[in-house]
């Protein structure tokens, strides 16, 4: 990120310029989020419906044995809380990518992409901004869940933060990668069906993997290969001050892979170049 000297001229960008750019993108994302209060409400209502209605109904049906990181028997609500947190982040990541498709259709995306700062950095800033928004949603959910007897150790609220950032980045990068391949906003509904629901249901969000294995060994392997499962487990362990190293490696690796894919797809000489101009332009 440092400046260089070429042809006797000062080049590149200072750290202050990079920071200003990051602040600007996060600030804009926060403003948009504040302007869309219904987005915040719906982001909270969704997991709360699962928690208050679905979990209450299934509590008696699905018994949970003692599995790490839990040290005793737990309520089903406690078990699915990390899955619902990750669901918030999944929806937020997809929502961010939806807004990128919208911005591209409306032309706003060009403002970002013609910035002189490196494109990978601009996309990374966009990703961080989306993750920051998801953190607000997650902590609001945890606050409400606390009144529902979902009370991880006090330190867990802090130790979960790095896991939330990493999983938020992974799911945001996935959304960004998907958005790069979508030409029109209308096509996004299909993506929701083909990405969000399979990722969520074929994971450890709603039921432990040993339960899945009992029911369907095939689905068990699908769940194990699903990066969403590892995001859930990373958050579950972090909420209790522990690290699930395998999940950490998978989430970290997937974040890097999705991010590289998104940068590649938004590279003007590759992904965007294959598209024609926007409607009405020539």
């Amino acid at each position: 990120m440092s400046s260089t000297t070429v042809n006797g001229r000062h080049r590149g960008f200072s750290l202050a310029e990079y920071t200003t750019c990051l602040n600007g993108i996060v600030w804009r994302e926060a403003l948009r989020f504040l302007h869309q209060r219904e987005r915040f409400v719906s982001a909270l209502v969704r997991p709360l419906v699962w928690l208050f209605i679905f979990a209450a109904g299934f509590r008696q049906v699905l018994g949970i044995s003692i599995i790490p990181p839990y040290e005793t028997y737990i309520l089903y609500e406690v078990y699915i809380a990390p899955g619902l947190i990750t669901m918030i982040q999944l929806f937020n990541g997809m929502q961010s990518s939806l807004s990128m498709v919208y911005d591209r259709e409306m032309g706003n995306m060009r403002t970002l992409l013609v910035s002189p700062l490196p494109r990978w950095y601009l996309l990374f800033c966009k990703l961080l901004a989306g993750t920051a928004v998801s953190l607000l949603q997650v902590y609001a959910f945890l606050l409400i869940a606390w009144f529902w007897d979902i009370t991880p150790p006090p330190l867990g609220y802090l130790t979960v933060l790095p896991a939330l950032i990493l999983s938020g980045l992974m799911l945001g990068a996935l959304g960004m990668l998907i958005s790069s391949g979508i030409k029109q906003l209308e096509n996004f509904a299909g993506v929701m069906n083909f990405v969000i629901f399979p990722m969520f249901f074929a994971s450890s969000a709603l039921y432990p993997l040993w339960r899945v294995q009992e029911g369907s060994p095939m689905l068990y392997y699908v769940c194990q290969w699903n990066p969403f499962t590892h995001a859930v487990e990373l958050i579950r362990f972090a909420l209790y001050g522990q690290v699930n190293w395998i999940s950490l490696a998978v989430v970290g690796g997937c974040t890097a892979a999705f991010m590289i894919g998104a940068i590649f797809a938004y590279d003007p000489s590759r992904g965007l170049a294959r598209r024609g101009p926007a409607g009405g332009e020539t």
Binding site: N7, G12, F13, T20, P116, L117, P268, A278
Partner: protein, 271 residues
């Protein structure tokens, strides 16, 4: 706002130096650019330059390839063949240096309608690494100059079409570029708003020495002293000063020259 009343954006020194021999370097050089969408060829061996402190009109019908060319210059698309330089900086090899010297007004509106006028300007400034205090000073300055100082807190969606375009031009100048691209900037505006914006941009060329590439399909936006590039079906048919192009085409006016060169029906590009 008439031509004499057109506001000017004070351009102090640019934030980024051009090449050491910038005086002799074109603001924009397009060398042998070709571009295809699959099998459809949008640009074919396009070549021209925009001198510094000049107004160059890029004239072409809808579908001529103007927006594709703009997407290449702004690096939204990658260059397939040829080279594009901005004050000597190759857009492919030195994109940051090139883009720092460039301001753009795209054909579709690129303002964030849900943000205020000031917030849009501050966001743009941040994308160019301009600190908050400096950005606010520059934004106040340009808003005063385009007559929108009292609308700084207004949502952009509450502005008129002409005001939005003026805001976009002001935004494009916030980071003090030395080359300004405007793609059909007057489309959808009424006659007065069109005249205001055109005179505003011409004033920038005269007062601030900015090189302007003005893409249009409207003949009446071209003045005798301008440079003219006629783009048709992806090819440059003529380029040079207006008088030179008219002479080569054996025509009395731009309209006739365009018709002769392209074989288009008269009046097809009337506003």
């Amino acid at each position: 706002m008439t031509a004499t009343e057109a506001p000017s954006i004070t351009q102090t020194s640019p934030d980024v130096p051009a090449r050491p021999n910038a005086a002799a370097t074109p603001a924009l050089s397009i060398d042998s650019i070709s571009h295809s969408y699959g099998t459809r060829r949008a640009l074919i061996d396009v070549e021209f330059t925009v001198p510094p402190a000049s107004f160059t009109a890029l004239l072409g019908l809808n579908g001529a390839g103007k927006s594709t060319l703009f997407s290449l210059v702004t690096r939204l698309f990658g260059i397939q063949t040829g080279r594009i330089g901005i004050f000597g900086h190759d857009i492919g090899r030195e994109p940051s240096e090139a883009l720092r010297l460039l301001g753009v007004v795209f054909q579709p509106r690129t303002l964030d309608l849900d943000l205020s006028v000031m917030q849009n300007l501050l966001y743009h400034a941040a994308l160019h690494g301009i600190g908050r205090r400096e950005a606010r000073q520059r934004a106040d300055q340009v808003l005063t100059q385009i007559g929108l100082a009292d609308r700084a807190g207004s949502k952009v969606r509450d502005l008129s079409g002409g005001q939005m375009r003026r805001l976009e031009i002001a935004r494009a100048l916030l980071h003090r570029p030395r080359l300004l691209l405007l793609d059909e900037a007057t489309v959808g505006l009424d006659v007065k708003a069109r005249a205001d914006i055109l005179s505003h941009v011409r004033q920038l060329v005269a007062d601030e020495g900015i090189g302007v590439l003005w893409a249009t399909h409207l003949f009446d936006e071209i003045m005798p002293g301008d440079n003219l590039v006629i783009l048709h079906q992806g090819r440059v048919l003529a380029r040079g000063e207006v008088a030179q192009v008219l002479g080569e085409a054996g025509a009395q006016d731009v309209n006739s020259a365009f018709m002769r060169l392209t074989g288009a029906r008269p009046g097809i590009a009337a506003p």
